[in-house]
Symmetry: C2
Subunit: 341 residues, 2 copies
Amino acid sequence: MEMTQRKQKILAAVVESYIRTGEPVGSKNLLGELDFSVSSATIRNEMADLAEMGYLEQPHTSAGRVPTTLGYRYYIDKLMNKLEPTEEDRRAIAKTVSSGSGDPEQLLEKAGEVIARLTGCAAVSTMPLGEKATVRRAEIVPVGTRTAMIVLLTSAGTLKSKACRSDMPITPQTVERFYSVCAAHFVGKPLEDISTVMLQTLVASLGEHALEMSSFFVTLADLAADALSSDVLLEGQSNLFNHRELGGNIIELMEFLRKGEPISKLLSKGKDGIDIKIGTENEYKQLANSSVIISHYDVNGSRSGALGIIGPTRLNYAKLIPYMQFVSGLVGDILSESIDD
Amino acid sequence: MEMTQRKQKILAAVVESYIRTGEPVGSKNLLGELDFSVSSATIRNEMADLAEMGYLEQPHTSAGRVPTTLGYRYYIDKLMNKLEPTEEDRRAIAKTVSSGSGDPEQLLEKAGEVIARLTGCAAVSTMPLGEKATVRRAEIVPVGTRTAMIVLLTSAGTLKSKACRSDMPITPQTVERFYSVCAAHFVGKPLEDISTVMLQTLVASLGEHALEMSSFFVTLADLAADALSSDVLLEGQSNLFNHRELGGNIIELMEFLRKGEPISKLLSKGKDGIDIKIGTENEYKQLANSSVIISHYDVNGSRSGALGIIGPTRLNYAKLIPYMQFVSGLVGDILSESIDD
DNA sequence: TTTAGCACTCGGAACGACAGAGTGCTAAAA
DNA sequence: TTTTAGCACTCTGTCGTTCCGAGTGCTAAA
């Protein structure tokens, strides 16, 4: 069966009506929304065809039609007219977002907040961090005779710290040795190089001081791994409660959101530019009833992090996609500016 | 109307039965749970009295009785037999909690995790921080020509950082000046002394360097305030979904939990030792259907933070109160030990 | 190819009947 | 005076029925 122009128009109208109302859409309701006049019977026939082609489905006999994943996909790829944010909106967004400039974390928090409010979805974002992030600085701060804080600052501005106990008392010499080892082996090196394996050989080479130092470096490796796994920010989680179509799965969905790691993966795996996953297109089963729009941002020309929204499949794609592009562009610009000077 | 011993026994039985089953309890059900034999009619009369006295209420005519806030209160204060954790439980808890020793944040995370799992409630905790916490160290790390990270480490081991932009380029002299000012005015001083007011006079005294330095110190004050407001950890939030009696308010409750600040207040205002707030005894209306058990912990003999659980009013107080006491005692011991050596 | 008409299906709301749980009251028994 | 048995009453939740509305698919005519 071929996709005629009329079928396209009908599909678009169904998708848009369903996105707007959340109700399965019947043939009669469509009459007013089309720019050509046919009877409801004709529309019925076309809709039956579209259902057969896999773009629409019925929740049950004698309910209206609802778009399938395939239907949304076709709509987004071929039919949708993007709705760029108004000048007014842009200004309002830019104002809020830039109020968080200076600190990357705050910036992304603001951006997430704005997105969540604007879209009624949950907003997620990853902190700026390329794989090429390096160790900018490592510090040791004695806290007790056998306890110290290890602090790691990365080139991306991420800061991680953790307390750590040593088997032996910490002397000024210990601290000095720590710094000299860091200066020699860590500072300026990519985070991913600080693997446990690398540390083992290092500790071995420390000879008599191995016992004294090893726990510090293990902690340092922890921190590096932590920084690499790239913090995930989450805003507007509770917006999801307003979408009844998420149904019982909402609890699992919220649990899923609370774990940072899969979200981090999700965001980093999104393809460049904008990436949209509809319902079952998601590889995580917790997202099977949700759609995700991911938009990455560049810092100084290279991909650094991403923003995303998670909501029901019934998203206003035409509006939200350009919004996400705008916000992520904005975030990238502000971050680039604040780093390269 | 006076509270006879028989009424007390009946009240206790009603509370315990309701806590166990979650169902309003009727006169017949109580027959088997009392250590004396009367007919259901007698119990009915007594229950009617208890209702009149304000300890019990009926969801509707011809349902069983449910304890009121007053009823729970009476039970907890006068009737309850505490159920100390078994030796086995103690060991298991101690094992999990102490696996997080070293880093206070990790420790409290573990403790929260254990509590949440054990109680089926949401667990909250505040990081160790007395009001007497002081500045242990302040750092400035240039990130760009006009951007720097300011890092604050407190005597309690809390670490806070924030990026910050200066109006003028940052030179090595700037950094040096920053350190000398910090050494002179901040290090060793209580966090609460770094008020904005104090900063203003300080900045004024900097003379020609005021412009260059002011934003750093403002940021530092931010960080101090942040550290003072004491991080709140939250675990097992999703456990609340299992309690149907929380009903529609659960959304607002979760929103409430997400904001750290009111929780921080809640925990710090709990009276010494164990503090229990039942339903409407809470001053936050979001908690009107919930109960809160707060237990503070000491570090080296002075109150430093607190652990709490939040769940439905229908908590197993007899069991959970001793548990909370045990865990908070444990946390205090471990923290004291790791700091004072 | 389109349209009008019609029979059919399904879900949801409304309704009444009914069983079950529990109460309060009364009058008799202890 | 206290306790108990008995009974009428109230309220909830469930089950089955009915009915309405929305929407479809099919057929036959335009």
